[in-house]
Symmetry: C2
Subunit: 191 residues, 2 copies
DNA sequence: TAGGTTTCTTACCATAGGTCAATTTTTTCC
DNA sequence: GGAAAAAATTGACCTATGGTAAGAAACCTA
């Protein structure tokens, strides 16, 4: 929790009351590998800040295949924002990939911080802008790059993530099968 | 411009001063079909609100192929947010697809509205949240749907856009070639 | 409304990546 | 440390979509 607060403090002034509020609505938790924090089809109340380890969010399509939307490592937030924003049931599943430490927030409560402490508006707006930009880039990459190119870029962008993930997690993020990823890795190692 | 202000007023209170500020930094323009508002590689200073017609943003890859990131019709914003946010040269081109009316803003000036009139922070945060959600959905659709399914969904989501666009605009949004889209349309009409 | 340009369609072939199944390797956990 | 489970690899084959090129249709614009 200290990490999160000091991260916020780098960008805005955090009053003692705001800090206390954040503490009051959060709970630090250790989660084990394989634990499911949000399950597709259920009500989503929580959002998570990762302080150690790695989580991912994914959806399961009509053929039972998984598609990874996001990985979250230290200092990232993860939840099902589609469900939270639209007030719908979860379309995503959030799964813990390694033993991790997270801070759990009630999403509705957390949202109130913008009302109580308006300086958080600008903090959050900035975060969302950054997020939008990274999503724009991801979409453009998906449209214009081949599978091997996307994999190379992924390794650059997330150099540390392979230690946490299985190959099929990465494949399902890149939009290919694990078999294809395996072949791409073989080709790459030949060079 | 009235449309934009009344749109904002639906969500927050807009002081007369804020309204005046918006007027002072904007310019309503008519643009013709084919006009380029932002060109890949150039400095991006402006952001556009569409009041009539249709624009799109796209990038050109190393093989010269276009990939559409976004269409913008009435009441949508469009620019190269990657460039604006990262203070880089444009990676996108913004092109006018039909005769359109737009309101042009200097992006830096517009950003100041959040400082001068903090109630716009929450307005903008809400917009960004919605945008993030729609981008999440687009990524998931791209990962899990076939080309014909993506096309069907596109027609549902943008029922009016076909009147403005050429088929290859849509194809490049869906991540397929115009020839493939043509074949998909033939199959669809057979049913 | 003619002539040129752009867009769309179609046919044929090519290919990236998918599917399935068998095998090997790695991880898990008692 | 070793059995069982999970993950990764590999090979043979398949399929959705891409590439190319040519002709048809649509659309500007004079």
């Amino acid at each position: 929790m200290k990490e999160l607060i000091s991260k916020i403090k780098k960008r805005i002034h955090v009053q003692a009351e705001a800090e206390a509020f954040l503490y009051s609505i959060s709970k630090e938790k250790k989660v084990t590998k394989g634990e499911i924090l949000i399950r597709q089809g259920q009500v989503v109340k929580k959002t998570f800040f990762v302080t150690a380890g790695c989580l991912r969010s994914y959806c399961i399509d009509k053929n039972g295949k998984e598609h990874t939307l996001q990985f979250a490592i230290k200092d990232w937030w993860i939840s099902d924002y589609i469900a939270i924003h639209n007030n719908e049931l979860a379309t995503l599943t959030v799964e813990c990939l390694t033993p991790s430490t997270i801070i759990e927030f009630n999403a509705r409560e957390l949202d109130k911080i913008h009302t109580y402490f308006p300086e958080f508006e600008s903090y959050q707006r900035h975060n969302l802008e950054r997020h939008v930009v990274s999503l724009h880039k991801r979409i453009l990459n998906q449209l214009q790059l081949s599978a091997p190119e996307r994999y190379d870029l992924f390794l650059q962008q997330y150099p540390d993530i392979e230690q946490y993930t299985r190959n099929y997690h990465i494949a399902s993020y890149l939009g290919i099968t694990q078999e294809s990823l395996s072949r791409i890795r073989v080709e790459k190692s030949k060079k």
